[in-house]
Symmetry: none
Subunit: 215 residues, 4 copies
Amino acid sequence: MRRPAGGSSLASASSRPRTLKSVARRNAILDAALDEFSARGFAAARLDDVAKRAGVAKGTIYLHFADKESLFQELIRFKMGPVVGTLESVFAADLPLRTMAEQALEIFVREVYNTQRKQVLRLIISEGPRFPVLAEFYYREVLSRILRGVRAILRHARERGEIDDDAFIRFPQLIGAPGIIAIVWSGLFDRFEPLDVRAMMQAQFNFLFGTRRPQ
Amino acid sequence: MRRPAGGSSLASASSRPRTLKSVARRNAILDAALDEFSARGFAAARLDDVAKRAGVAKGTIYLHFADKESLFQELIRFKMGPVVGTLESVFAADLPLRTMAEQALEIFVREVYNTQRKQVLRLIISEGPRFPVLAEFYYREVLSRILRGVRAILRHARERGEIDDDAFIRFPQLIGAPGIIAIVWSGLFDRFEPLDVRAMMQAQFNFLFGTRRPQ
Amino acid sequence: MRRPAGGSSLASASSRPRTLKSVARRNAILDAALDEFSARGFAAARLDDVAKRAGVAKGTIYLHFADKESLFQELIRFKMGPVVGTLESVFAADLPLRTMAEQALEIFVREVYNTQRKQVLRLIISEGPRFPVLAEFYYREVLSRILRGVRAILRHARERGEIDDDAFIRFPQLIGAPGIIAIVWSGLFDRFEPLDVRAMMQAQFNFLFGTRRPQ
Amino acid sequence: MRRPAGGSSLASASSRPRTLKSVARRNAILDAALDEFSARGFAAARLDDVAKRAGVAKGTIYLHFADKESLFQELIRFKMGPVVGTLESVFAADLPLRTMAEQALEIFVREVYNTQRKQVLRLIISEGPRFPVLAEFYYREVLSRILRGVRAILRHARERGEIDDDAFIRFPQLIGAPGIIAIVWSGLFDRFEPLDVRAMMQAQFNFLFGTRRPQ
DNA sequence: GATGAATGAGGGTTCATTCAT
DNA sequence: TATGAATGAACCCTCATTCAT
């Protein structure tokens, strides 16, 4: 369930730990923090538990992060940063709309939904309103880029006659909506009624782009 | 000496308080609690602030609610309970699908989105994962009923030939998705890029049910 | 050894506790704080110990004082404030220089040296350099007034021909010097060689004003 | 593996360190420590800052001193030790009282007041009460010697008929008092009202020994 | 020797909860 | 009922001290 969180850390800031051990420790702390923050929320999470889970002493956290809030913010940045690069490359391709949607779905499921990043997104959703800097980071570095890319693709598709509706362009959120809904749902209701993300996204795509061979 | 401040777990029901003043006080506390919990999250909210905002003493809160968590849970129940009844009546009607969707949209915007209930939903989304009882309450008392109602309507509509797809029935969440997305979005990104709920829901309806006179 | 610290609290600021109990508690905390701060210094003193000594819970301290530093500053103000008034009245009288000196000596010994105020002065001397606000308070509210009063008296005495030297007026500190020295000495060396404040002050007065019947 | 960083409690003596570098380092640490202890007090000073200021690693301090308190005590000893010798030589001379006083004044101003030693004395005054060993060291190694010397001189002077008062002999502290007062004053009130040590000491000498050519 | 990352006990502060009035 | 002073457990953060390199 833990992933050593390699990743290029495009957006991560501050902190320049030299040794390998130091990096490993930092990552262990970040992973532990993600677990604890996810399980209890930012305010209720205890750095004591983060330390315990990371296998370090409490003070060690402060060698890597200025305080609890910094840890939280850097956590989000660190785990989210790498996505950006990946996304840009998807948008670069020039394929039929539906194909791209399928690809995006796969990327989302593989890189986000079945990943720590699901927790990260949940944290952004939960805590974002109390951390404007964080919400802004996510909007600027991730979301707005995705939206821009999607809109470009959609405009392209319309020029090619693949779609005739401009609702897409006004509300590209609708494309990702099922993904977000699934993330929210899974945290709340999965034990009552599990939800098949992939299938729901497919269904939405069918509505949006018309029925195709799904997969 | 203390009154455990029942609340039978059944939806709303202002747990039989004696005087009128008492009811008013209780409501004031609930309103204040909603504001504070929304602004700071459950864990970070201070009962001191709730009391101040409600214009009562801190101890008074404990005359109406067993503890902070009870206050939170009863808050959700109290603010969400009434919705249920309203919804049932909508489902009862037997109108064309699109018409019903339009009605549901209006109800959602009027009764939820432009209301305290938006905050309540946000709280459920944010804090629900840490309050299984609450998630269960919401699922059982609200969500599952809505889904059941929607599914019934959809099945009806299919029988009437209004729709031929069973994706609806498998994923009725897609109908409400834009509403949830808008609630999440508004808490995070409205200052960067506001979102027109109504229009986005319309757009989604167009995709789902085909284009109609939107209003 | 403790003195309930009545006193009019001329300079004391903030905090308006209503009840008698509240005032008593506040005073108990101030007394305990004086003891602890005196024994260990500001930085090393533990509020835990202050609370214990005052017979209250740790949190209670924060009902009366914003934080450790406030407690410290208000302590100094509270214990020093009352002196001011007393002093003014001494200066008001119009007596022979030596007589006034004798009176000042008595007041100093009675009101300061054999009092909590000795500890307070020691704290001002020890911690003042790190608490400029405090040093300023003491200078403005106490010291400068004393110096002003003394200088006025001396000028008067010179006009009367009681003294012909202006060294007094330039360095009125010399009059109080033995008192301060005694306070410093007693904290450091009393166990090796005790010092008789009264006698030393008398000796200094003899040097300054010429030998007289010392009382 | 560690060297307990002796320091035999005898005054100064840079506890026989091997290399020249080592001595320099030790001195750098002592200087840095003096600065930090003076600025923040013993308890609040951070060894981290001492190390930074001394240009060494934190651990290095522990190669030279057993712990924070040892560093502090050795600091006082090291900076105060040398004074002793100097003083003895002054007392050895056999000059008129006033002349000796003038000389002592000069030595005090040159060797103490315009020196790091002023800070050291301030530290003794501030922290001495919490460090009995230190107060004892200072009393035994410095103060009692000075007092003994002064008393000897005074007795001598009386035999010569230079003075007829025994107040001096009972309270030789009065001779040094203005120096101590000036040190205390300068740390607290110099920004409000600076004090001319030399002049104040002269004034006191005039009172004590009668007016003479002040240089 | 020298370093500085790591440790973890300690202490200031907060705040849910209690209870005397 | 209502109050709000009092409580004390809990938690973030600091920093003296250790120790592997």
